[in-house]
Amino acid sequence: MTSTKQDPVLVVLQLSGGNDILNTLVPYNDPLYIDNRPNVRIPTDQVIPINDKLGFNPNMAPLKPLWDDGKMAIVQGVGYPNPNRSHFRSMDIWHTCEPDKIAEEGWLGRAIRDLDPNKENVLTGVNFGRGLPRALAAPGVPVASVGSLETYGVLTSIEQEEKRSEALNIFSRMYSPTMGQGPVFDYLSQNGMDALTGADILATAPAKYSSSVEYGASSTSQYMRNIAQVHCAGLGTRILYTTAPYNSFDTHATQMTAHANLITDVSTMVTDFYADLKEHNASENVLLLVFTEFGRRVHDNGSGTDHGSGGAAFLFGDKVKGGLYGEYPSLEADKLLDGDLHFNNDFRGLYATILEDWLGLDAQPIVNGNFEKMDFIAK
């Protein structure tokens, strides 16, 4: 099954650290918001209202046109039972759909396996950044992890063309599958082969791209640009992933300034990305998911907020039915879960919607169960 340019593509932007939903999608008229956030609150007159109860953080202004156009969906109060407040554990849960035990297979690793079971395209999934997020990991599934798109390649330190060619030949034979050397060895072999193939193809992407959109300077913004480059190059990539710098959203302290900068950065890069795709007529088959591993505590700690639960996820795309999904969690004390915002829908339902309604896959084996879907994809 070869991919055509119009096959649905999923882009995921991970906000690591736990984005504070109360200050992102602000319940500006709720007196409990004012009471609980004496020090870490968006003043009512700065909020960009979207209805009479909720409004955007002012730094989300660049995204307002997308919201007004109906291209932006917000899934409120998303989480899972027994919320975990450890970054690593909670992010792993979002990556592996396994709240109760440690798992090594990521939902997108499985999705890539289902999208390309015969491994016809080693670039079906591409991650931008160092290391591979667990969401993309699954045994036997190649995922290119690109730290720098411009310089990606194997044995580039052997400068002489002929010698390099010879060495690459030997390399490809060394790394072709062998039997009985153990799982780590096999893992290395697989990575070597995939690197070789992927490198040659990825090298063509920057040359094919030119754009009037100027992205921000942050590393994540540049990775979003790389994602646009690879998507526009038509390499058949279906899943593209990147992460806002590790744990940057973990605003235990000085949240007012830190969070403002983060929201500005993310809002700008999403707007730029979408504009870039539109410029290349390549937006119709793209869905962007922006998620975080948990929300933050209802009451601030004096200068920031500690780990909580019940956050929100955002979706952007031409085929998104814009609007609010799920319910905004109540701030009333008796409605909280262990003192934190109570989730009202399961993230695995969010994933199931994307997997089935957007990527056309069977969600149940990927998310380990049947979860209620939402209706944010236009048919």
């Binding site: 440690i102 995922v143 780990h307």
Partner: protein, 468 residues
């Protein structure tokens, strides 16, 4: 002496340090294995790295304010220190007791912490934890200076338990509850940072620990089943005596020095691959009064260590420093020490700046198609430089075998000089083919050095070479 002795010594030096040249291995094997272990365990008996000449050239190393200077400095130390285990342990503790410069923005402060790891890293674990609780970089990284009696910040309290001492759970049971986290955090309120002398006009000064009794929660707390008006040092004492702490530290030492285990979050539910070895280390923890040196002495002298050959995937630091030590590079002030320091970062290990307080994912998780390419590209590039002293002496050593040698002898010679690696049959065939395609190899010819260099380049590109 026996081939085996040298290979065993290569194994020890790769694990307890960053590898060694063949000549150094011969010297150490002649001295004796147990004697070498003792030498490693007593860094204070070895001379420290001589820094005065380096500082003359590296002006930025006077103040050590930047993370780049620190990474370059640490690279230089790892290459040149005769206190190899001290540096290796410093790296271990840094990977467990994580602070990141991306938040601290005070690399000079992190260096103080690293120097404490060098000084106290082999001593009592309780002492290490106590020092950590008063370390300004750590307090700042985990927001404890913002933890107040009236508004407790749980960040330090949580990570101390989750990542620095006991871990979330053991043998499928949790080690502590959310209430314990709250009590722990309360006990550390008031443990804060004193202001440094302002930066202008004389430059950056360091912060210091400050105990603010007026901001300390002076109440009864219940922690791990004990009750009392606990302060931070009481908490550390209680933690140090927990079986969970012994287990956690034993597993970390095993994972770092013996064989790759699953990642730390899995430890609550995944048993150790060698429970007997862990038990031995746990006993050593308690018998010695929590002393890391005693645990390591038992570890390095054990069969489970000696037999654990190539059971670990090299960390980026091991890849880069190991390569530099083999090449005999950067043993004196030379420009561009920053280049290998950056390579360690590109391979996924940003020294003084781990991605999160959890540290780096190690073992097989160092590798993905991206980092594998970095490793292969870097090491093959380095091995191609046949004029470097280390490679020169490898070439000369192999040439000693005779005026004309076979492809077998060439390949085996290279593998021996690199530290006793072995390759799969298939890979051997490929490399023999490449080396011996023209029949008997003349060691006197001008091309001999190049041929050795090429063979080394191919060996370091193999899967086998990613292991230590």
């Amino acid at each position: 002496m026996a081939e085996n002795d040298i290979q065993l010594m290569a194994h020890l030096m790769r694990r307890a340090g960053f590898g060694a040249s063949y000549e150094e291995l011969e010297r150490r094997a002649a001295k004796g294995y147990e004697e070498t272990v003792e030498e490693l365990l007593h860094p204070e008996d070895q001379p420290d790295v001589t820094m005065d000449v380096m500082r003359r050239y590296m002006h930025g190393w006077r103040d050590m304010n930047s993370v780049m200077s620190n990474q370059a400095y640490w690279t230089y130390r790892m290459v040149n220190s005769s206190r190899q285990l001290e540096e290796k342990l410093c790296l271990l503790w840094h990977g467990i007791f994580c602070v990141g410069d991306s938040k601290c923005m005070a690399a000079n402060q992190i260096l103080i912490q690293l120097n404490n790891f060098r000084k106290d890293g082999m001593g009592s674990f309780e002492n290490l934890l106590m020092g950590l609780s008063k370390d300004p970089a750590m307090l700042y990284y985990l927001d404890n200076q913002l933890s107040h009696k009236e508004a407790v910040n749980e960040n330090w309290g949580r990570e101390l338990l989750e990542l620095f001492s006991m871990g979330v759970g053991m043998d499928e049971h949790p080690n502590y509850s959310e209430d314990d986290v709250k009590s722990c955090a309360e006990a550390f309120t008031g443990w804060t940072i004193g202001n440094a002398i302002p930066r202008y006009p004389y430059g950056r000064y360091n912060n210091s620990f400050l105990y603010n009794q007026y901001d300390h929660s002076d109440e009864n707390k219940t922690f791990l089943g004990e009750s009392g008006n606990f302060n931070g040092d009481d908490i550390v004492k209680i933690i140090a005596k927990q079986p969970a702490t012994a287990r956690f530290i034993a597993r970390h030492l095993y994972n770092y020095f013996v064989a790759d285990e699953p990642q730390v979050p899995a430890w609550q539910t995944t048993p150790p691959r060698d429970p007997e070895a862990i038990r031995i280390l746990e006993n050593a923890y308690f018998d010695s009064g929590y002393e890391i040196r005693s645990m390591l002495r038992i570890l390095f002298n054990s069969d489970f260590f000696k037999n654990a050959r190539f059971t670990k995937v090299k960390s980026p630091a091991e890849v880069v420093i190991g390569t530099l030590r083999l090449r005999g590079d950067f043993t004196y002030p030379k420009p561009r020490i920053y280049d290998p320091a950056l390579e360690i970062r590109y391979m996924g290990q940003d020294l003084l700046n781990p991605p999160t307080v959890e540290g780096w994912h190690t073992g097989k998780e160092w590798i993905d198609s991206g980092t594998l390419v970095e490793r292969v590209n870097y090491t093959s590039g380095e091995m191609g430089d046949i004029d470097s002293p280390g490679i020169r002496s490898i070439i000369d050593r192999i040439a000693e075998k005779g005026d004309s040698i076979s492809a077998e002898e060439l390949l085996n010679g290279c593998l021996e000089m690199l530290g006793g690696y072995s390759l799969t049959e298939e890979t051997r065939e490929l490399l023999l083919d490449n080396a011996g395609k023209d029949g008997g190899i003349s060691t006197k010819s001008d091309d001999f050095g190049e041929l050795v260099g090429q063979t080394l380049q191919l060996i370091v590109s193999t899967q086998e070479y990613q292991f230590t």
